[in-house]
Structures are given as structure tokens and as C-alpha cells.
């Protein structure tokens, strides 16, 4: 049985213009110790889907479907139970991780608090653990950092400290929402290496939300591609990245700039923009931008069906030609 299971999860928000579906029914599965990458453009519903799993939606948001963690149903749990699950069971590293540190609390206080929220340990033990965790995420001079405030640290160190805070109660699953977006490239590489190492050492499962395919390739065993609130392709990372079956995945890969691209040639893009959640077409949401579109695509939403390396939701999947 999978550690973390999402079945037919739909997220909608009540707006003055009516109910808007941000996520229109997705399935995810993460096994113990596995790493899944969730890829998609901004606004495709990646973050909202995962926030919904922890009951962290905004007040006007509503989640339906089934989310199971360790065999227990999560949606609809009372707030008290959710509080126990958050942090201790599922850790969450936010998109703006440096901003997720409380400004007036010293790093040491925040880290030990993250532990003492969930485990009954005394202050000295929590502090020692905080120091060990900071060292584990490779923050230099950890003892001194513990006494500092967030604004005294560099962006990369803050990111590491935020990751350390999420790791303090030893979650079995860590959700990292775009952990590298706010960082410059060298630090990005370090953070990816860090995640890889942490998984090996702590054996925790990881869900990474990203739109950086480099992160996917470097970190994840499996990848799920989201487009406009649905998963359009899902499978083993190597398979999906080398032989994408969905035209959208293929377009994403083709849009990656390469160093050996001739200069002066415009970059390849996918024409058009994703539909707003309230304005999805009747059929496949990608149809208006797809170069392989035919009549059926405009009428029926394609279901996820088995493909060579996983599953794909497309009426005319690519045969799996290498990109």
C-alpha cells in the first residue's frame, strides 16, 4: 500500500463569479521513500492540490475526493488531528521558504519549536537536535546560526534552515513546493543535492512541485505532469522525459533552451496560454494549443490510460518518439 494516496481530488474556490475549479480530479500515489515530481505551469493547480491534502486551503476553498496518508483518510479530519498530521506526518516546505521563517524568532527557537510541537522533549534536547539538523542540511557554523534571526542569514542559508525546520519532527513525507525557484542557480544545485542526500539518509518520501525539468531529472523517480487542473501524463521520470506521450509534455521539453541552440533563432514555445480555471473548454483543456488536435479532442475530456512508460490522458498520444 502506498504511503500517500490521492484519489479523484478536486479543489474548488467560491468566488464572486461562482465556483471555480482549480483542480479537476487528480490521482497521485507516493510509496514509502519514493520521490514524485509534480510538474506544470503556474496556475495548473499543483500547489493547491497539495495544500488541500493538508487542509491548508484558503477559507473559500473546498476539497473533494479522497486523500489517504498511511492508510488514514485525511480530508475532513478535525483540525486537532490535522495539526498532529501536519509537520509530524507530512512536512511542507513552502514556495517562498525563506519567507516561511518567522522574522522575530531566532533560528534555534523556530527549529526547536517545530520539534516540541509534536514530540514531548525538553528544551535542551530540542536545541541539540536543532543543531544536528542544521548541520545535516549543511549550514556552516550551525551553533552560531541558531542564535541568529532569519534576516541575518543569506537566502540559501534561510532556505536550508526552512528545510531543517520542516525536517525537525521527522516527517515520513516531505512536500516541497518549488524549493529552488527563489534561489540562484548554484544554490539550486546545492539544494537538489541536499534533498537527494536527505532522502538517502532519512528514507523519507518526497513530493516536489516544480516547473524546472532539471529538478525533475535530478531528483524524482516518477513524474506527474499537470495541465489546467488535471494530470495529463504520469510515469517513470526517465520514460516521460525521454519519450513523452502527451503533446504538452513534449512541448515543455522542446521549450527547454539548450546551450547548443543556434543564437539568433527565437526560442521554441507552446503557442497560446493555459485556459483560466473558469474557462476550460469542453474537451481536452490543451486542445486549443495542441498541434495534433482533432475533433474528438474538442468534445471529450481524455481519461488517463496506460501508455508505454506510465499513463497519459490524450486521444492522440505521441508514439513515443525521442525528443
Amino acid at each position: 500500500m502506498a504511503l500517500f494516496e490521492v484519489r479523484d481530488l478536486a479543489v474548488s474556490f467560491a468566488t464572486p463569479a461562482g465556483e471555480v475549479d482549480a483542480v479537476a480530479g487528480i490521482d497521485l500515489e507516493v510509496a514509502e521513500g519514493e520521490c514524485l515530481a509534480l510538474v506544470g505551469e503556474s496556475g495548473s493547480g499543483k500547489s493547491q492540490a497539495l495544500l488541500a491534502c493538508l487542509g491548508l486551503l484558503a477559507a473559500n476553498g473546498r476539497a473533494r475526493g479522497e486523500v489517504r496518508f498511511d492508510g488514514r483518510s485525511v480530508l475532513g479530519l478535525p483540525e486537532r488531528e490535522l495539526g498532529r498530521l501536519r509537520g509530524a506526518g507530512i512536512g511542507y516546505v513552502f514556495q517562498d521558504a525563506p519567507g516561511s521563517l518567522t522574522p522575530h524568532l531566532r533560528i534555534g527557537d523556530q527549529l526547536s519549536e517545530a520539534l516540541r510541537c509534536h514530540h514531548d522533549v525538553d528544551d535542551a534536547t530540542a536545541r541539540a537536535e536543532a543543531r544536528r539538523m542544521l548541520e545535516r542540511v549543511q549550514v556552516p557554523d550551525a551553533a552560531a546560526r541558531l542564535r541568529q534571526y532569519p534576516h541575518e542569514l543569506s537566502g540559501g542559508t534561510r532556505q536550508r534552515a526552512a528545510i531543517a525546520a520542516a525536517l525537525m519532527p521527522r516527517p515520513r513525507l516531505l512536500i516541497a513546493d518549488e524549493p529552488t525557484t527563489a534561489l540562484d542557480v548554484t544554490v539550486q544545485a546545492q539544494v537538489i543535492a541536499l534533498f537527494r542526500e536527505l532522502r538517502r539518509e532519512l528514507g523519507m518520501a518526497l513530493v516536489v512541485v516544480t516547473h524546472d525539468l532539471g529538478v525533475v531529472a535530478g531528483l524524482a523517480e516518477r513524474v506527474a505532469v499537470m495541465y489546467s487542473g488535471r494530470i495529463v501524463e504520469e510515469g517513470a521520470t526517465t520514460g516521460v522525459l525521454s519519450r513523452p506521450a502527451h503533446p504538452y509534455t513534449s512541448g515543455l521539453l522542446a521549450a527547454l533552451p539548450r546551450l547548443d541552440d543556434p543564437t539568433g533563432v527565437p526560442m521554441r514555445t507552446i503557442p497560446g496560454t493555459p485556459p483560466a480555471p473558469g474557462e476550460r473548454p469542453r474537451g481536452c483543456a490543451f486542445a486549443p494549443r495542441c498541434d495534433r488536435v482533432h475533433d474528438r479532442c474538442r468534445k471529450e475530456v481524455p481519461a488517463l490510460a496506460a501508455a508505454a512508460h506510465g499513463r497519459v490522458a490524450c486521444h492522440r498520444p505521441l508514439a513515443g518518439a525521442p525528443v
Binding site: L54, R84, G91, Y92, G99, S100, T102, P103, H104
Partner: protein, 284 residues
Amino acid sequence: MSARRGVWSDALRRLLASRAAVASLVTLTALCVLALAGPSLSRYAPDELDWAMMGVPPDWVSGHWLGTDRLGRDLFVRTLHGARISLVIALFATLVSLLIGVTWGAVAGYAGGRTDALMMRFVDVLYALPGIFFVIVLTVVFDRSPLLLFLAIGAVGWLTMARVVRGQAIGLMRREFVEAAVAAGAGPARVVFRHLVPNLAGTVVVYATLMIPQMILVESFLSFLGIGIQEPLASLGNLIADGAAEMEIAPWILLAPAGCLVIIVLCFNFLGDGLRDALDPRER
């Protein structure tokens, strides 16, 4: 050293760079010290009648530095005594309204939705009632003790504080670190009092500093009307009331406490302005 380089020490440095704020701080400290120690500097007690010197203007020879009132009580001592009581009442009233206002506002801002609407409508209703009237009724129904006075003033003073804090709290709730605290499994009480309220400290401190002079004025007003501090106890309010009765014949009886009141109120206002500039988040 690093520990000292927090947001607060930055703010302190900026505050000390403001001349008006520093001057106010010095004046206020001096006044407080005088109010505490001053009465023992003079050879007269606040309720002691000097039968030989009734209603005399300031006079250095006899030691009545600010003169005496018509009963021969030394005005220097009485003014300092009055300042002490006025300050204490203002501080406690401010503390009471801080306590209620900050908790109320932070909880409303954190809870949001219907709870927030209900809590804030309650504030609106109380706003609609004249606060002074409420205090007067309270002091008439119950006893006229100084304790009740600062409780009553504080109990009507927290409304604006609650509104200010709620607004700030709502802004902070959208910040990632609050979300992160929730996602890390922190319960509501922990989120409100450990992650939310300390971040409001800047606003609250500024607002409290500006509230103290208001409280002093309210207390003085009540005492002036005769429902605040009662004779023979002195507060700035009832001293001014005394003085006002005879300001045409003996203006110094009015000028001593009124001057003191003006100095205190001005200083707190300058200090509040200085603090606001020092803690302005845009300057960080």
C-alpha cells in the same frame, strides 16, 4: 553580538537619532523620577496646610516653588503627586486596553470569516456607545476608586486597538511564515501568540504610546468633572479644576498642573511619532 542586531536594536538606533523623541524620552524620564521622588524633595506634604501661606504665588524663600493653593497646600508637591496618579492610571488603563484589544483583534484576524465578523460587529456596537458616558455610569454605580477608574477607562479604550490589531493580523495571516507555522502543525493558540502577536509589537507599541496621553486626558477630564480622583488625593485633572475656579485671581494654581499635563501629553506624542518612524516597516 549578533543577538543584539535584531529588528529592535535597529529601531532603537533610529529612535535615538530623532531629536524630538530623545528630548521627550529624557523629559518623561525626568518627570517620572520627579513624580516618584519629588514630593520628598520639598519640605511639604501634599495634604499639608500651610496656614501662613494661603494662595501665595511661587516663592523661593518659603520653599513653595510653584506657590500654594487657597488652602495653603504646596502646589509643587501636589502637581507631582497628581502627575504620579495620572501617569499610573494612564499606564494601567493603556495596559488593560492593550491586553483586551490585542487579544481580541488578533483572535478576530486569525479566525476570520463569521467569527471575525461577529467580533468586529461587537466592537462597532461598543463604538456607537459614548465611552465617557459608560465610564461615568460605571463609576457612579460602583465605587469611585482609582482602581475602578483605570479598569473602566481601559475597558472602553481597547476598541481602536482591537481594530488596528485585527487589520494588521489579517495582513500577516497572508504571510508565508504564518502559513508555514500552521503547516508545521502549530495549534491556533501557538500561531496567534507566538507567530502573530510578536509581529504586531511595532504597531502596538506606537499605538500604546499615543494612547497614554489620551488616557491621561480622559482621566483629567473625569477628575475635572469631579467623578475621577477625589480630594484630598490629587490628579492633574482635579488640580486643573481647582485652578480653573480661581484663574483670574491666582493663575499659578491653574498653570502648574496644566503645564505639567501639556508637557506629558506633548512628550508622549513626540515619542509616539518617533517610535512610528523608527519602526516603520518601509524603512527596514
